[in-house]
């Protein structure tokens, strides 16, 4: 008898084994961060020189029902030496997952990432940015949601109902890396009378055809990126007030692996009451594997940023090029270096960033970050950061 036939019969006769589950596991990390700013701040209210900070991120995960249900809890808290807005806490995730056949449901506070490019995350809109954490905008606040995913062999369809809005965090008066006027987050304004209770929704389809992956999405609801309007506060001091408009945003993201090339494109069209616009970022990552007969991989990344509002845009990227390199050592300590520069082709403003990390022992990780701004044009959104070059060192303990 054929081996596969025997196996098939055995498979029918034997009751299928029970899937092992991850039951009630705590993990997380504690990180100490030190930043040093060599230049004095623009405002006397802001701190100079160094800043120490401590962050704690505990995680709990429990699954049951043959792995078809799961509960996730991730909290985050930071204590910052100088910036009281950066001392903050958030529930990153608190949700229940239910998988039934081709459907996966998620109820509660969650986090979702959309997109493919490296130097800007243009189409990623579900979660609000926790801007006090880092300029790169990769830290996100937990978003209350009901998410339904319909899985197919060609990809997936995702539906989101977002019943509550999260306001963006901004550095406080003493903080660095901020706008010249302080953003007064207590006085946020909304276009919708429902304010934070406006129900946003989104849907996304993801199609995979061989080496190509295509994401098509639409979001309707409260803008994640607010307008910042100058007003006078109660004491007659000028401040900025965030105003959250209602927007409709359609997006496309595409990636394709063709040999050593990884091609990427993100594009959006946003309809809003102030300045409806189209924007895109696209480029490639080319990887040289095992350079110099070693285990090292070197990736060259080039991405172009476009925004049809030009210099009027409230964002740093309108006609900019990012050029960078990623070096992966593939060693036991997972040493990595990512360096890149963004050049504004109109004004020649430049910013430069280098990130490096390395594991120490089995449960510590040391990371470094250097951010430089040079030749920033007075018209550029980054002009207020011209004296905010910094060096950051972080040591994390993972448990």
């Amino acid at each position: 008898m054929d081996a596969k036939y025997i196996a098939l019969i055995a498979g029918i006769l034997l009751p299928s084994a029970v899937q092992p589950v991850v039951a009630g596991v705590w993990s997380g990390d504690i990180s100490a961060e030190l930043r040093y700013f060599p230049d004095d701040a623009l405002s006397p209210a802001q701190y100079n020189d160094e800043n120490a900070s401590l962050a704690f991120k505990p995680e709990y995960y429990h699954e049951w029902d043959n792995r078809r249900q799961g509960f996730t809890f991730i909290a985050f808290a930071r204590l910052d030496q100088n910036d009281e807005e950066r001392s903050h806490a958030d529930i990153r995730e608190l949700n229940h997952r239910l998988t039934r056949g081709d459907w996966e449901w998620r109820f509660g506070i969650g986090k979702v990432f959309w997109g493919v490019t490296e130097s800007q995350h243009l189409v990623d809109i579900i979660n609000q940015t926790d801007l006090v954490e880092n300029l790169d905008g990769e830290d996100k606040l937990g978003q209350p949601m009901i998410q339904a995913t319909w899985l197919q062999d060609w990809g997936a369809l995702e539906f989101f109902v977002l019943p509550a809005f999260r306001e963006r965090s901004f550095p406080g008066a003493e903080g660095r890396l901020r706008t010249p006027l302080v953003v007064d987050t207590d006085r946020a304004e909304y276009e919708s009378d429902d304010e934070q209770q406006h129900i946003d929704w989104a849907l996304r389809s993801k199609i995979i055809i061989g080496a190509w992956e295509i994401g098509l999405a639409h979001f309707s609801g409260t803008a994640r990126n607010p307008e910042l309007l100058p007003v006078l506060d109660g004491n007659g001091n000028p401040v900025l007030v965030p105003r959250y408009n209602l927007i409709d945003q359609s997006s496309l993201d595409v990636s394709a692996i063709l040999g050593n090339w990884l091609w990427k494109l993100e594009a959006i069209y946003q309809d809003n009451p102030v300045d409806s616009y189209a924007a895109a970022v696209g480029g490639f990552e080319y990887t040289f594997y095992g350079i110099f007969e070693s285990a090292l991989d070197l990736g060259a990344i080039v991405e172009y940023h476009y925004d049809d509002r030009g210099e009027a845009a409230r964002v740093p990227f309108q006609d900019d090029v990012f050029a960078g390199a990623r070096l992966a050592f593939n060693d036991a300590q997972s040493t990595e270096i990512l360096a890149g520069s963004i050049i504004d082709l109109d004004s020649d403003s430049r910013s430069f960033r280098i990130e490096a990390s390395r594991r120490l022992g089995n449960s510590f990780k040391l990371s470094g970050e250097l951010q430089l701004f040079s030749n920033i044009d007075p018209q550029d959104v980054l002009y207020s950061l011209r004296d905010d070059d910094y060096l950051q060192v972080e040591l994390g303990w993972y448990f």
Binding site: S16, A17, E104, I208, S255, D331
Partner: protein, 259 residues
């Protein structure tokens, strides 16, 4: 005269049948081994990797593996990292395709980001270990050309010794010498020769156990790199076969739900 012709013809035929070339015999062994392992359906297992450098410093990786056997296509597999702690929750999904490049996705839990990754780095080290990605991928018959070398005792077993050369692109090896036992086609030992055809490393598989009355898997796989002095010990545990995994458990769109 007529009888002589028939006699000669018979001798010719039989010697033809007997004179299997070393290439044919090597391929036949590989096919027999593949058949011997077919029909497992799916399996899950835990893997502890201990990396040891020349100075004797050790670091440990703890990884869970889920594999679904492909029907007429390559296997699908998922690796979920539990340790080192800083990469906990990272998951790698691979659809193997034999000679065509594999499809591969990496899930990064910190950003909740699923990245399509290039599967060309076959010769690159897996998690900094002495195992390359290509050593741990599914070993479809068409991935190599074969040449039977000899029969040889291997421990308490009798082995076929076969040379195989990668037919897929971007391998880090010119050739491998494989020792397989003749009773159950278990891989006992593999010698790997680098792109310059120098001996790079040796893999020893030990402590074979039979699961669900048919499928043999080793408890330990030990790789010694002869060029840099580093070694990796891979210990397998908690093997379970036919757990009921389906294609839905291997979808890049739900990698963020995988733990």
């Amino acid at each position: 005269m007529k009888h002589l012709w028939i006699l000669l013809l018979c001798i010719g035929l039989s010697s033809n049948a007997m004179a299997e070339t070393p290439e044919e015999k090597g391929l036949a062994i590989a096919k027999a081994a593949d058949e011997r392992d077919a029909g497992f359906g799916d399996f899950i297992a835990d893997m502890t990797m201990t990396l040891r450098n020349r100075k004797g410093n050790e670091s440990v990786r703890y990884i869970r593996i889920r594999t679904l056997e492909g029907e007429g296509e390559g296997d699908k597999s998922m690796s979920i990292f539990d340790e080192p702690r800083d990469v906990k929750g990272t998951a790698m999904l691979t659809f193997s395709h034999g000679l065509k490049p594999d499809d591969q996705w990496l899930y990064l839990p910190a950003l909740k980001r699923v990245k399509r990754i290039n599967s060309r780095n076959k010769s690159g080290p897996f998690m900094g270990s002495e195992f390359a990605f290509e050593d741990l991928g599914s070993q479809e018959v068409e991935k190599y050309s074969y040449k039977y070398l000899r029969d040889e005792a291997c421990g308490e077993w009798q082995c076929y010794v076969t040379e195989r050369k990668p037919e897929y692109e971007y391998s880090g090896y010119t050739r491998q010498i494989v020792w397989r036992d003749q009773a159950e086609y278990r891989v006992v030992k593999v010698e790997f020769y680098d792109r310059k055809n120098a001996l790079l490393k040796t893999l020893d598989s030990r402590g074979y156990k039979e699961y669900i009355g048919r499928y043999w898997r080793p408890d330990e796989m030990f790789v010694q790199n002869h060029q840099n002095g580093k070694s990796t010990l891979l210990k397998w545990s908690n093997y379970q076969f036919r757990t009921g995994l389906t294609d839905r458990d291997f979808n890049s769109n739900t990698l963020s739900s995988v733990r």
